[in-house]
Symmetry: C2
Subunit: 318 residues, 2 copies
């Protein structure tokens, strides 16, 4: 059995673990990133964490076939071209980490790592073509074609959150109007929940969020279960917009699987079934030749680590 | 030098030619398809045409390394799952043609063949990732990732014409509202030109199209050159919508090149520059990391034949 280290480098935490060749995550340690420090310090901490997860499993350096790092930012061929939160520009992380530690190293984007993990070991289970959509504060994503990450020129592929789904839609922080993210992120759902509450003081939404500050991504789901009309309307619009975004992905890529992750995907069928119903009602997608599986992500928080490790594993196989 | 036969099987014509390994189309013959005949008759005619183009170049069967066929329809792994215009369902064309003629045969979708040809020998010239957008009566397309056609599950990938670019937009014949095709095909441009003419009897559009039936895809371009305000407005909206569609493709795939083909691409910079300006003004695409080339297709009508032949060539290389 071969073992890899996967590292998930985010703006808040660095998480790492040992991943075996079956994609099983065997342990999981993390430290604070303390972003905006010099890159060398962050790399030092990543190396230390890497040795820690190896020791934690009573393995030695020689047992490790390679290290995969999934990092925030635009990444192409192992170079972090830019990573806003981390403050990196043109950082040759793959080369630097490999030289520093002696490990074979492979670096990819963190959202792409999640997509790769779900395609290989999670919701896709070997699917060659998969699009991952991760719903959080924003919407991230990753495109897997032929079993491999599509990085795109300059590492920007998979930014599905910034597909325009309605040119007259909600303003997005990127400067556009009507991005998928500005309609369907958890933030967007919270905003439309608040708006519905302001417009209807009798709504049961108020039962689950006594003040507007109490609204979170689950508020709508709770009030819907009580049959609250305002909540149902918010959710109808939300899932309608979501289905438009998925229709676009189907038209362009017809992936085997579209995988929906992030905190909200824990709502499972309550979230996904209405989206799928609307997608299947779409005339273009209702063709018998457009059978796409839309599934909740299966690997949870470890997906980034697993995907990073598998990215390195894949390079071994070539 | 290796030689291949490329065949472009459309609803109206079957065109074929000899293509050498540099992607040069050496001759080009065609016959009527007479669609809706039994598949066997169409296949007989394709085989005959194939022998004709070989003889036309004074080559013999032994000189041919393989035959590539680009056909209308949804095609996956050499099988035509469905092809509306041709009336085929689940036709194993690759197998049948190969058994009939003895040639190594490879079958792909015709729009995908065009994309492949442009990526390898045309506007892309070796680009690994390219999206082709072909503007005609409708909008076709093809997605090339890592130098290869993305067929998608069930052969439906690259249907960029059916990306929804405005959920409240023009009705599309597919049943959706606001498909890229229903806003930016030549048909859509003609329809909005007619509407502008109906709304403005003084427009110079009437100079180039004395009756509404005279309107074609060039009418707007001609009146624009005269500074006609109605034409300019039609074109502004047209290129705005076009840029929205390209923004989506950039967000999802960040391809090296987006290639625009079809009759209207003959307008060249007059068509493409305003689209690129709007795309670059888009906040998400104005990042220095989103440099995408948008180029007119270069291979013209022969692209389908060249791409089909190259599809077969690629299979040889594996």
């Amino acid at each position: 059995m071969r073992y890899y280290v996967g590292i998930d480098l985010g703006g808040t935490n660095i998480a790492a673990g040992i991943v075996n060749e079956n994609g099983e995550l065997l342990n999981n340690l993390s430290v604070k990133t303390n972003a905006k420090r010099p890159a060398s310090e962050i790399i030092d901490d990543m190396a230390k964490l890497c040795y820690d997860v190896i020791a934690d499993m009573n393995l030695s350096k020689e047992d490790i076939s390679g290290v995969g790092i999934g990092s925030a930012g635009r990444i192409h061929s192992g170079v972090i071209l830019s990573a806003g939160n981390l403050g990196f520009i043109n950082l040759e992380l793959e080369k630097i980490f490999s030289e520093k530690t002696g490990f074979r190293t492979a670096v990819c984007n963190d959202a792409n790592a999640v997509a790769l993990a779900e395609a290989k070991f999670g919701a896709g289970k070997g699917a060659l073509n998969l699009v991952a959509v991760t719903i959080g504060t924003g919407i991230g994503g990753g495109v897997i074609i032929d079993g491999k990450i599509v990085e795109g020129i300059n590492g920007g592929a998979g930014e599905v959150g910034h597909m325009i789904i309605d040119p007259k839609g909600n303003p997005c922080h990127c400067g556009n109007n009507g991005c998928f993210e500005s309609h369907c992120s958890a933030t967007a759902l919270i905003n439309s929940t608040k708006k519905a509450m302001e417009n209807n003081s009798d709504s049961l939404l108020w039962k689950y969020a006594p003040t507007l500050d109490d609204v979170d991504g689950r508020t709508v789901f709770r009030a819907m279960k009580d049959g609250d009309e305002s909540a149902i309307q918010v959710f109808e619009k939300y899932t309608y917009d979501f289905a438009v975004a998925l229709e676009i992905l189907v038209a362009v890529l017809q992936p085997d699987v579209i995988c929906i992750g992030g905190g909200m995907s824990k709502e499972g069928a309550t979230l996904i079934n209405p989206i799928v119903e609307k997608l299947k009602a779409n005339p273009f997608c209702s063709s018998p030749y457009s059978v796409i599986e839309v599934k909740a992500a299966e690997l949870g928080n470890g997906a980034g680590i697993i995907g990073a490790a598998y990215f390195c594993m894949q390079k071994d196989a070539i």
